[in-house]
C-alpha cells in the first residue's frame, strides 16, 4: 500500500483558507484521544482548554497578553520562512532582546530619569534581538553555514547568558539571593481598569499592519517571496540573496527582541530565569497555522494563546500535565503541514509498493 500524490491544477482560495481550520479540528480530535488514553474525560478537557479561556472575563485579558509576544515573533519569523530561511532561534533572540532592553532600567534604577526610558528600552530590545540574529545570518552569508543549526545553538547560549547575569552581576543585592534583578521603576502602563492588560498589546496590531504592507506592497517583500518560491528567478531578477538573508534575519530578530522587552516591561517587570515559556518555539507553530500571512497569524496566535491558557488551567483543574499542551502544539503543526499538502495534492491510496 502506498500514497499517490496527484497535483491539483488550480487550488481554490477557500480551501487554502480553511485548511488550517480543518487541521485544528483534527488536532483537537487527536488531543481528545490522548486525554482519553490518560484516563480523563475529553469533554471536560475540551471545556477547560478551549471554552473557558474564551468565556471567562479574566481569561480574555490573559489571552491578549499571551497572544501578543507570540504574534510579534511569528510575524518576524514569517519573513524568514517565506524566503525559505530557517531561523529557529527566535527564543534566543527574544531573551537577548530582553537582556539588551533591560540595561537601561537596571542602570538607571533609583534615579529620576523620565518616561523616555520605556521607548528607549524597547528600541534597545529590538536592537539586541537584531544583533543576535545577525550572527546566524552572517555565518550563512559569509561561510555558508546552515542557519538552522547555528540559530538553534544560540538559544542555549542566550539562556545561559540570562542565567549568568541574573545570578551574577545583575542580581538584586536586596533580593535575598534570589536569581532576579531589581524591580524596574518604569513599566508599560495598564490600559484596562483593575486588569493586567498592558499597553504592549497595542504594538501587535501595528506590527501586523506594517508586515502586511511590506510583504504585499513593497519591492523588498516581493523579493522575499520570490527568493522563497524560486531562488533562481530571484537571482535572475537581480535580488541580492545575501542581503535578503541579512534583512529577513534582522526583521525577525528585531521583532523577537521587541517581544522580549515588551514581555519584561509589561508583565514581569524584572529579569529572572525562565522569562520565556518557549514563546520563540511556539511562535513557529503560530506562523505556520497562520499560513505565514499577517492576518492568518493573528488567528494562529489567538488559537495557540487559548491552548496555552487552557493548558495552565487544565494543570490545576484536571491535573493534566503542561506537556500535554506541547504535544498538542506538535500534533497541530503536523496537521497543518499535512492539510497544506492535501490542498496542493489529491492524495490517493494505491495498492502495491513503489
Amino acid at each position: 500500500m502506498r500514497l499517490e500524490l496527484v497535483p491539483r491544477g488550480d487550488v481554490s482560495p477557500v480551501a487554502r483558507l480553511l485548511s488550517p481550520v480543518a487541521a485544528l479540528a483534527v488536532a483537537i480530535l487527536i488531543g481528545g484521544i490522548v486525554v482519553a488514553l490518560m484516563g480523563r474525560s475529553p469533554m471536560a478537557a475540551l471545556q477547560v482548554y478551549f471554552v473557558e479561556p474564551l468565556t471567562e472575563g479574566w481569561a480574555q485579558q490573559e489571552l491578549l497578553i499571551k497572544a501578543t509576544p507570540l504574534l510579534i515573533i511569528a510575524v518576524g519569523l514569517s519573513f524568514c520562512f517565506r524566503a525559505n530561511l530557517w531561523n529557529i532561534g527566535a527564543e534566543g533572540q527574544f531573551i537577548i532582546g530582553a537582556l539588551a532592553g533591560s540595561i537601561l532600567p537596571i542602570w538607571l534604577h533609583g534615579t529620576e530619569a523620565g518616561w523616555w526610558v520605556i521607548p528607549a528600552s524597547l528600541a534597545m530590545g529590538a536592537l539586541g534581538g537584531m544583533a543576535f540574529a545577525l550572527i546566524p545570518a552572517m555565518l550563512r552569508v559569509s561561510f555558508g553555514v546552515s542557519e538552522i543549526l547555528t540559530s538553534l545553538m544560540l538559544v542555549y547560549v542566550a539562556d545561559l547568558t540570562l542565567d549568568y547575569l541574573v545570578r551574577g552581576p545583575w542580581r538584586d543585592p536586596k533580593g535575598f539571593n534570589f536569581p532576579q534583578t531589581v524591580s524596574f521603576d518604569w513599566t508599560l502602563p495598564y490600559i484596562a481598569e483593575g486588569g493586567r492588560l498592558h499597553a504592549g498589546i497595542l504594538v501587535a496590531p501595528l506590527v501586523v499592519l506594517a508586515a502586511w504592507f511590506v510583504m504585499t506592497r513593497t519591492l523588498f517583500g516581493f523579493g522575499i517571496r520570490v527568493a522563497g518560491e524560486s531562488p533562481k528567478a530571484a537571482r535572475f531578477a537581480g535580488f541580492d540573496a545575501g542581503r535578503m538573508v541579512i534583512a529577513s534575519f534582522l526583521i525577525s530578530g528585531g521583532l523577537a527582541g521587541l517581544a522580549g522587552m515588551i514581555e519584561v516591561l509589561g508583565q514581569i517587570h524584572q529579569l529572572k530565569p525562565g522569562i520565556s515559556p518557549g514563546y520563540g518555539f511556539t511562535a513557529i507553530t503560530v506562523a505556520f497555522l497562520g499560513r505565514l500571512h499577517p492576518l492568518g497569524m493573528v488567528f494562529g496566535a489567538l488559537v495557540i494563546a487559548v491552548t496555552v491558557i487552557g493548558g495552565e488551567n487544565a494543570q490545576i483543574a484536571l491535573k493534566l500535565p503542561l506537556d500535554l499542551t506541547r504535544v498538542f502544539q506538535g500534533v497541530l503543526l503536523m496537521c497543518v503541514l499535512a492539510a497544506d499538502a492535501m490542498v496542493s495534492y489529491r492524495v490517493r491510496i494505491v495498492a502495491g509498493g513503489r
Binding site: 506537556d323 506541547r326 495534492y345
Partner: protein, 303 residues
Amino acid sequence: MGIWEAVLITVITAATPLLIAGMGELVVEKSGVLNLGIEGMMAVGAACGFAVAILTGSTILGILAAVGAGIALSAVFAFLVLGLAANQVASGLALTILGLGLSGLVGAGFVGTNREAVPAIFIPGLTTLPGGALLFGQNPFVYASLAIAFGTLWFLSRSRAGLTLRSVGESHVSAHSLGLKVLKVRLMAILFGGACAGLAGAYLSLVYTPFWSPGMTAGRGWIALALVVFASWRPLRLLFGAYLFGGATVLQLHAQAASIGFPSQLLSAFPYVATILALVVMSAGRRSATAPGSLGTPFVPDR
C-alpha cells in the same frame, strides 16, 4: 587503571549517544532527507526506555521500547515528508516539539526514580590487563555504537543497497528514472534514523545518568545533527567528530568541577559555541558542496 585510560573512558561515555544518533541521521541525510526531529525522538527514547525498564525490571525490554518509540515517531515523520511531500524542516521541528512533550507525559511518573546503570562488560583476565578496561571493559552500548558506525561505513561504501541509497540522495530524479524505489529507500533510512535516535536516548537514561528528568537530552539531538555536517556526511569523520566532541564535553565538566574561576554558565555554553565554531571551520574550508544533492527536497514521483 591509569589516569589516561580513565579519561578516555569518560570521553567515550560522553561521545556514545552522539555517535549513535549522528550515525542514524547520517544515513537519513545520505538518502536525501533532513530529519530535524532527532532531539524529540531521543527524548522519547530516553523516557520510554527508562519507564519500561523500571516497570518490567528488564534492561533489554527498556532498550527495545526506546528503539520502538524512535521508529514509531520517525514513521510519523516519514508519513508527512514522504507520503504527503510536506516541508522537511517544518515537519522535523514539529517532531521535536511533539517528542519533547510526549517524553514529559511518559516520564512524569518516573521523576526521582533511580535505577542501577547498565553495567560495563567484565571479562576476567582481559578487562584487568593494562588498557584492558578501555578495550574489553566498556558498556555494551559502546560496542553497539562502534558496530553501528563500522556497519554504516561498510553499508554505504561497499554494499549495493548502500550505493542505491546514496544515488537516491544524490539525485532522486535520476534514481527514479533508473527504476530505483526512491520513497521506499528513504522510508527505510528514516526508520533506521529513528531507531538510532531512540537507542541513543535509552543510553542517556539507562547508562549515562541513569535516571529520567525533563529536558535531559539537553540539545544532544541538535549536536548530533551538527556532527553530520561537521563530518561532511562521512561515517569515519563522524566517528572522529563524536569523540572530539565527547572530549570537549568532558573537558568542560572537569573545568566546572575544578572551578577555575570562570562562571559555570560560560563553561556550560562551551559545547554549543564549539559546535558553531566547528561548523564555521568546516564550511569555510570546503571548496565544493559535499551535501547529498537532493537533501531536503521533497520527491513526488510522476506516474
